[in-house]
Symmetry: D2
């Protein structure tokens, strides 16, 4: 089994936001700046159309423009992964095909997310996408939104047979991720989606992270990864503590962490940094308020990622 | 507030399956027979693209062909409702617009179902669809798939302001449905999605039912409704008991009720009755096996709906 | 199989509150009045130590005094059932034995509720209690607190083998209850715990109801049952609508229905009626406030159960 | 604020099993050997009556004998903590008082676990136990059994006001634990209950671990902790990988991790090591079979903890 992409898959791969204009269309100029900003910050890949990228809410045209733009701007310096977050297999295959045509280097595929399916049906979903499109697949394990945990045995079977080259774990189940780390076949790439545990998973052998919070401050995660690869565990852990503080940008005033609020904070951060022009998120997410923008600014300043 | 459609909304409205051919495309000939079969059986409306109709799994083209066919075949004899089961608001609006163009009489809209949204975000979703498309809206409350209960106060607010003309309750929360029945504004139409409780909800004041099991034997539900309207409560209840027996077609050999298995049994029943040609369901649902076909036949024979 | 108790099990059996004094001890005088009040209201049984009775929160001594008092006051006019809501089998057996010694006519046993157990372990739980104590057992299906649904096949197996003589369904799964009603063996007694669905379950064949709201107005439920047995379905349904309105006593100002708030409202109602002296609930339930007392009074007055 | 116990709280504190004889009574001789075995293995404390200790299933007498025995055998060499896993506050206080009388050094208190309570009610629960019994309290956060997450703000409030001196986190929410680690007040002790993440939480600043798997091989966890304190991160991580392998003793043949099966494996391990005489668990847990004993032996041998 040869994994040409897998060898280039490691490090910090932000699940990048999708910049929109006031009318809700893809904002190409902001997108160009945004993708360049991340690459210049040293990230090791880009992942479009994940949850942070509002993937399941985007119009087809927005997806196409964003992917085309990112592929062009990135220009092969790092891999560009396209999320395939579709309710069913046929729709997933259509999205996957289009992503390949537009130049994606790999696909991140989540379970079907309207109906509850069995682990067997889940395996068929991944296999069907893999058969239909000749691109490396990573599984996206995110039961909070899909209602379905990709079980350990399912993941191992798909890994060993070559259907998957890796996985992004956003399950919140750090113990299960640890079991997967120990049992995975050689070469299978594992990434955490938890911005709060990047140091820990790297130390325990994971290949990298796909943290939503890298939309707020990619340079912190890149630096953490550099500390790790240089064997500076203490520095990595200290930096992680600062990231834990920064995570508060995702916590709404009522103490909860909601998808709409979190994505709004990502866009607020990039606007505050002058990277994107507009904080618009997809309906039905609540719009970003001036108060939210102020909170994000304050937390970014306190943690030293904004002056 | 005028509810022109609402006055025609009552009785048995099957959430009709979407017949596919072996290649997974819409099977027009089977569809024509199927929609006619239901209308001839006396149903009071058709609801396409619900869960039983595999709505969230269908390709756009399949949806369009099915809706066009049903509108043509039904020819105004009963209302045709189109399900709008979309992960986000923009996608929902696009689906809703297309449904109106193709002649749907009303829309059945479920909450966004990938991200967890708040009740406020949920209200915005319904309002945005209503503003964008001039068709009556019914809410589809089905937290088992959407992860989100439409709360009583949310439903009442949307009903009283005229955003919704009715609702299909597939929440499984019969007590909550009862509270809604007592509190709903005049003219707001309420339907249950539970095939096992049709007699009870009719007696307690609901307007009708949208039972998946009507895909197996619409005539039983039509007869039950006729008993009810004629004041024959005892006969309605007795017939409901027979329907409870028939419900076993949805129960897999391991005792669980799974979406894929249930939809497969609906298609099996219609094939056994000679209405559709092919039992194919959408991937990743497990295919209907000969064993499942045999179980469905046996239960239909035992309950007297197949010779 | 002989079910001597089962023949006397039908109708309205309130899951009666446990009156406490200011110090949190059993209030005997209030208890005597309370049990007499219910019997005078025409109830067909009393169920102590259910969820409304704060069963799992009570000290052993409180349980003993309450049961002794109720058995004495009721004096055989109707059956007295004791709840056995214990985290494990050994503790359940000890409670069951003590209940028998104190004169309970039957036991209502819920699944073990700390650890998640399997359906097989659940069966062993019921069987072990039944073997240890020669009293009729009813199962108490209440997954909202126990985290475990008693599955249909489990219930049927325990019913058919004689371990259980009946069940109280507080699962909220009205459709599952309907399947159980149709499949239960002859003589197996079924009660709903949902105050909002009493008319419907009686019409569909259930033997009665164990409604927490009967703690607020037992006479309404007794009257509803009389309408039902006299064949006055329309009157039963109309009365049920009034009960749905009265249910608002359980709804906190924030729109949620919480156990502590609901039990507080039951005690408030009985104090407002002059039956018990003190509204104290068990810690850690939030205490009943003057504001809650006022809300309960207002709703009782609006629905005509308090002047 | 003085935390006399807290200063002695760190390292590996097994949530020790409760050895029973064939009749289900406390097996004193096995208990003496077991507690000594752990102390000799170098553990830094003992925690009786947690989930691994079958706390909520034990008879009062068993609890008393076990606690008395452990206090006597341990003789102050390490702290002995008693679990207070009670459904309500009054019952918790009674258990807490008895534990103090019998010599416990501290209490580990979980949320009330039958009724769903609010965070405010939860705070009252901890405060009431703390007021009633003068022993240091640790919170036991285990929503899989209690249905209730102790939220970050709740924990911090109870920590800052001195109600709690620490917490055992068995929530499975490693990201939330990380936030707590960063925000906790000085001196507040934090332990993970996850055997699969001990290295990671120690590196990120936690004080220790309370791993159920320490019932199978305490020496591995003690060694891991020694590696950590000596700054040998790589060795700690390597040993953790071996522990991940050993975790398979908790995985039933069907791939699930069930409480009853896991506790059975702990007892099997201690019997295989000659420490306890009998593998009996509390009803309704399924009994340990010869097949399970064989699986445990095989995995222990493969991972080098049994010859």
């Amino acid at each position: 089994m040869i994994y040409p992409l897998a060898e280039r898959l490691f490090g910090i791969i932000p699940p990048v936001i999708t910049p929109l204009d006031e009318a809700g269309r893809f904002d190409r100029a902001s997108g160009e700046r945004l993708y360049r900003y991340h690459v210049d910050a040293g990230v090791h890949g880009l992942f479009l159309f994940g949850s942070s990228g509002e993937g399941p809410l985007l119009a087809q045209r927005t997806r196409e423009e964003a992917l085309e733009t990112s592929v062009r701007v990135v220009a092969g310096r790092v891999p560009v992964l396209a999320g395939v977050l579709a309710a069913g297999t046929e729709l997933a295959i259509a999205e996957a095909r289009r992503a390949k045509e537009l130049g994606a280097d790999g696909l991140v595929v989540c379970p079907p997310f309207y109906f509850r399916v069995t682990q067997d049906e889940l395996k068929q979903h991944f296999r069907a996408v893999r058969r239909a499109v000749d691109l490396p697949l990573l599984a996206y394990d995110i039961p909070a939104t899909t209602k379905l945990k990709i079980e350990l045995d399912t993941m191992l079977e798909l890994a060993c047979e070559g259907t998957l080259v890796g996985a992004k774990d956003s399950s919140g189940d750090a113990a299960g991720f640890r079991r997967l780390l120990v049992r995975r076949p050689q070469g299978f790439r594992l990434f955490t989606g938890s911005e709060l545990l990047v140091d820990a998973v790297l130390l325990s052998g994971a290949d990298g992270a796909v943290p939503g919070l890298a939309n707020v401050a990619p340079e912190l995660f890149v630096e953490l990864y550099q500390h790790f690869t240089a064997g500076r565990a203490a520095e990595a852990i200290a930096l992680q503590r600062r990231i834990v503080r920064l995570f508060d940008v995702f916590v709404a005033p009522d103490g909860t962490v909601r998808s709409g609020y979190a994505v709004g904070s990502m866009k607020a951060a990039m606007k505050l940094r002058g990277v994107i022009d507009c904080v618009r998120t997809c309906a039905p997410f609540e719009p970003v308020t001036a108060e939210q923008l102020g909170r994000v600014r304050a937390i970014m300043q306190e943690t030293g990622v904004l002056r």
